[in-house]
C-alpha cells in the first residue's frame, strides 16, 4: 500500500512538472505569436497604403555598439515611433561579442530581426542566390537621393550583383592616426605624399631617436588587413582574387615580395616585435601601454576606431596623415569602406514598414542629428554637414575622411573580403614575424590555402 502511494506520489510529481511545463509553454507561445498576428500579406500593403496608419506593427531592430550608440539609436527609434504611432520597434542591442553567432543562428532558423546591423566582413558568407536573406533595397521605397552611388554601390557597402542588400552606416576605411607632437619632434611629415621607402627611412630615424619607440603601432591583424593588403594591391594593380575566373591575381613572386615587405616591417623595427604586439591583437591596440605612453609615431587604423585610439592617450595632439604609395605604381589602393551596414530581413512580415524605418534612420534630418557620428562618419553629405554644424564630427575624423577621399581606392573583391580569406594573410604575417616561415614558404602556403578556400565556395 505504502509503495503504491509512493509510486503515485512520484507520478503526481512528474505530472506536476510536465503540467507546469506545458502551462508555461502556452503562456509564452501566446506572447511570441503576437508579432505574426499583426502581420499582413504583401498583397494587402500593396493594395492599401492608406490603411498603413491603422495597422499595428512591431519591428525588431538589432545592432551592437557602445553606450553612446545605444542612446542615440534608441532616441531615433523613439522619434520614429512618435511619427508612426502604429509601428513599435523592439530594440535588440548588445555587444559585438557573439553578435555574429546569434545572427547566424537567427538567419538559419528564420527568426532574424526585421532590421539588422551587419558587419560587412560577414556579409559575403551570408549572401547567396538560394537564401536571399536580405531585401534588395533598390526594389523598395528607400530614398537613395542623399547617397553617392559610387560609394553605396560598392560590394563592401552591401551591393551584391546588382542588388543593394544593405545601406552603409558610415564611411570608415583606413586612417593614419599621427601623434603629431612626436612626429614633429623627430621630424616626420605625414602631410605630403610619401612612399613605402620613406616609411622604412622614417622608421630608422625613430629607432635612432629613441630605441623604445616605433614608427607604426600595429598588430598582426592591422599589418595584414591594412599595410600588407594595400601594399599587395599597389604591387599587382589588382585585387587579390579575380571574381570571374576565381583565380588568384598575384603571382608567386608578388606574394614573396609582399611577405618580404612584411618581414622588413618587423626586422627593421617599423613596427614593434610580434611577440610584444601579440597581447594586443584584433581591435585592441588602444590598451597597449606603449601607445598610452606615446611611444609610437603613428597608427594605421580605421576611421571607426581612430577616436578610440586617440582617447587612450590624451596627452598629445593627433592629426590624420596621408597613406604611403608605391613608387611606379598607378594604383593607390587606399579606400574607404564602411564599419557596418544595415539590412532589411527579407523574411520580415513587414518589409514596407522596415524600409520606412531604415529610410527614416538614414534620411531624416532629426535622425541624422541624433545619430551624429555614433556609427563613424555619416554616409551622406547631408548628414556630414549636419554633424559638422553640431560639432559631432570631430576635426580628426573629418580630416581623416578628407585624407581618404584623396585616393581612388580599390575595394577587396568578394572572395577576399570574407573573414576566412583575410585570416590566411593574418596567419602568414604572424608566422613571418615569428620567423617560423620564410617569405618564399609563406607565399606558397598562401596560394595553396587561398586556392582551397576558393574551391570550397559554392
Amino acid at each position: 500500500m505504502k509503495r503504491l502511494m509512493a509510486v503515485s506520489l512520484s507520478a503526481c510529481l512528474l505530472v506536476g512538472i510536465l503540467g507546469g511545463c506545458s502551462q508555461g509553454k502556452s503562456e509564452t507561445t501566446a506572447s511570441a505569436t503576437q508579432a505574426p498576428e499583426n502581420t499582413t500579406t504583401t498583397a494587402d500593403t500593396a493594395a492599401a497604403n492608406t490603411n498603413d496608419s491603422e495597422k499595428a506593427v512591431t519591428l525588431r531592430f538589432s545592432w551592437w555598439g557602445g553606450d553612446e550608440r545605444l542612446a542615440a539609436t534608441l532616441e531615433v527609434i523613439k522619434q520614429f515611433e512618435e511619427l508612426h504611432p502604429n509601428i513599435k520597434i523592439e530594440p535588440e542591442y548588445g555587444s559585438s561579442d557573439g553578435y555574429a553567432d546569434k545572427l547566424a543562428t537567427q538567419l538559419a532558423s528564420g527568426t532574424a530581426p526585421d532590421v539588422i546591423q551587419i558587419d560587412p566582413g560577414l556579409m559575403p558568407a551570408l549572401v547567396s542566390n538560394e537564401t536571399n536573406y536580405f531585401v534588395d533595397l533598390n526594389k523598395t521605397s528607400f530614398d537613395f537621393s542623399n547617397f553617392d552611388p559610387t560609394y553605396y554601390q560598392l560590394r563592401i557597402n552591401g551591393f551584391y550583383d546588382g542588388s543593394q542588400l544593405g545601406i552603409p552606416t558610415g564611411i570608415s576605411g583606413g586612417a593614419v592616426l599621427v601623434n603629431q607632437d612626436l612626429a614633429d619632434k623627430i621630424g616626420i611629415d605625414f602631410t605630403t605624399q610619401y612612399t613605402w621607402d620613406d616609411v622604412f627611412d622614417w622608421a630608422k630615424k625613430v629607432r635612432e631617436y629613441d630605441d623604445s619607440m616605433y614608427l607604426i603601432c600595429s598588430n598582426k591583424d592591422y599589418i595584414a588587413n591594412i599595410l600588407a593588403n594595400n601594399y599587395a594591391k599597389q604591387l599587382s594593380g589588382k585585387t587579390f582574387i579575380n571574381e570571374e575566373t576565381k583565380k588568384i591575381n598575384l603571382t608567386t613572386e608578388q606574394w614573396v615580395e609582399v611577405y618580404t615587405f612584411v618581414d622588413r616591417l618587423y626586422k627593421e623595427g617599423v613596427v614593434a616585435p610580434v611577440t610584444y604586439t601579440a597581447a594586443y591583437s584584433g581591435d585592441n591596440m588602444q590598451s597597449d601601454p606603449n601607445w598610452i605612453a606615446g611611444k609610437y609615431v603613428c597608427c594605421f587604423t580605421y576611421m571607426s576606431t581612430m577616436e578610440t585610439m586617440a582617447a587612450a592617450n590624451t596627452s598629445t595632439n593627433y592629426t590624420a596623415g596621408l597613406f604611403p604609395l608605391m613608387k611606379g605604381s598607378d594604383v593607390d589602393a587606399w579606400n574607404a569602406n564602411c564599419p557596418q551596414i544595415i539590412s532589411v530581413n527579407s523574411k520580415s512580415a513587414n518589409v514596407d514598414e522596415a524600409v520606412m524605418f531604415v529610410d527614416y534612420f538614414f534620411n531624416n534630418d532629426n535622425a541624422m542629428e541624433t545619430l551624429g557620428c555614433t556609427r563613424s562618419v555619416p554616409p551622406t553629405a547631408k548628414a556630414r554637414a549636419i554633424c559638422t554644424k553640431t560639432n559631432a564630427l570631430s576635426e580628426l575624423l573629418s580630416s581623416a575622411a578628407d585624407a581618404a577621399a584623396g585616393y581612388k581606392g580599390m575595394v577587396d573583391d568578394k572572395y577576399f573580403s570574407a573573414a576566412e580569406a583575410k585570416q590566411i594573410l593574418i596567419d602568414e604575417v604572424e608566422a613571418i614575424g615569428f620567423g617560423t616561415v620564410t617569405p618564399d614558404a609563406a607565399a606558397e602556403e598562401t596560394i595553396s590555402l587561398l586556392e582551397n578556400y576558393i574551391s570550397g565556395i559554392q
Binding site: S10, L13, T28, L70, E90, S95, S287, P289, P339
Partner: protein
C-alpha cells in the same frame, strides 16, 4: 600543560599565516581588479601600480545605472526570474533522475547512462542552431522557457552525474532497511536519502545558480529584447571595439554583479559543508 597550550597557539598562528599567504596570492588579481574599478583606462593598462590615484564611487554608481536605458535593478530582477526557477527545477529533476540511476537495476541501464554522459560531449557550438530552431518552433525565443525546459527535463547531465556519484557513496543498506520497514522508493528517497544528500544538493544548487547567473552564450542566443537581459548580458553591453570603453566602470559593475554570488556562497556554506557531520547518519 603550559607548553601544550603554547604549541597549539603556535600551530594556529602558522595555520593563519599560511592561509593569509595563499589567500593573498589567490586573491591578488581580484584585489587588483577592485582597485582598477577606481582607475581611468590609461591607469589600468599603462601602469603597474596597484593603488588608484583617486577614489570615488562614480564608476560603481554609473555602472549600476547601466547604459542609460535600464538600470541593474531590472537586470538583477530578470536574472532572479531566470536563475531561481532554473536552479529549483534542476535540483528536483536531477535528484529524481540520479536516484533512478543510482538505486535501481533496470534494462538498458548502461546504455541510458552512457547516453546521459554522451550528451555532454558534443560541443555546444554545433548543437545550438538545431536546438534554437526547435525552441523557435515552440515559440520560446526571447523567453526564459528554453532554460526552464532544460532544467525541468533534467538536461543538465552534469548534475545528474554528480548526484549519482554522491548517492553511490551512501550505503545501500539504508535503503534496504527502509524497504523492510515498509517504505516505498519515493519515501525512501525523501526521508532517508535526501537528508544525507544535503551537502551535495546544496553544492549542486550553488553551481547551477552560479553558472546560469554567469552564462553568456546561451543567454545571448535565446534572449533578444533589452528589457529581458540578465546581468551577464548587461555586463557586456558597453563592450565595443569602435567606441571608448570605460574599463573602470566595467570592473566596478563586475564587482556589483558578483556580490550576490559571494553573499550566497557565504551564507549557503554551512549547509553544504556541515550537513553530514551534524546528522552523523553515515557509516
Amino acid at each position: 600543560m603550559q607548553s601544550k597550550k603554547k604549541l597549539k597557539l603556535m600551530n594556529s598562528i602558522w595555520t593563519y599565516t599560511l592561509i593569509i599567504i595563499i589567500g593573498v596570492i589567490l586573491l591578488y588579481p581580484i584585489i587588483w581588479m577592485f582597485f582598477a574599478a577606481f582607475k581611468e583606462n590609461d591607469e589600468i593598462f599603462g601602469s603597474t601600480k596597484l593603488l588608484a590615484t583617486h577614489y570615488s564611487l562614480k564608476n560603481f554608481i554609473e555602472g549600476y545605472q547601466g547604459s542609460g536605458v535600464l538600470t541593474y535593478t531590472t537586470y538583477f530582477w530578470n536574472t532572479f526570474k531566470l536563475v531561481v526557477p532554473v536552479t529549483a527545477f534542476t535540483m528536483v529533476s536531477s535528484t529524481l533522475v540520479a536516484y533512478g540511476f543510482a538505486r535501481f537495476r533496470f534494462p538498458f541501464k548502461k546504455l541510458l547512462f552512457s547516453m546521459l554522459i554522451a550528451t555532454m560531449m558534443l560541443p555546444n557550438a554545433v548543437i545550438i542552431i538545431p536546438r534554437y530552431t526547435l525552441f523557435a518552433k515552440f515559440g520560446w525565443i526571447d523567453t526564459y522557457m528554453p532554460f526552464y525546459s532544460l532544467a525541468i527535463l533534467a538536461c543538465y547531465p552534469f548534475f545528474v552525474f554528480m548526484l549519482v556519484q554522491f548517492l553511490r557513496g551512501i550505503p545501500r543498506e539504508l535503503d534496504e532497511s527502509a524497504y523492510i520497514d515498509g517504505c516505498g522508493t519515493f519515501r525512501t528517497l525523501m526521508q532517508i536519502i535526501l537528508p544525507l544528500m544535503k551537502p551535495a544538493l546544496f553544492s549542486a544548487a550553488l553551481f547551477q545558480f552560479m553558472w546560469t547567473y554567469n552564462d553568456y552564450f546561451n543567454s545571448l542566443i535565446f534572449i533578444n529584447s533589452g528589457k529581458k537581459y540578465t546581468v551577464s548580458l548587461a555586463l557586456r553591453l558597453s563592450l565595443d571595439s569602435e567606441s571608448v570603453v570605460n574599463w573602470g566602470k566595467i570592473m566596478a559593475t563586475s564587482f556589483i554583479v558578483v556580490l550576490p554570488l559571494i553573499l550566497l556562497f557565504f551564507m549557503a556554506q554551512k549547509y553544504f559543508v556541515e550537513g553530514i557531520a551534524t546528522s552523523g547518519l553515515k557509516g
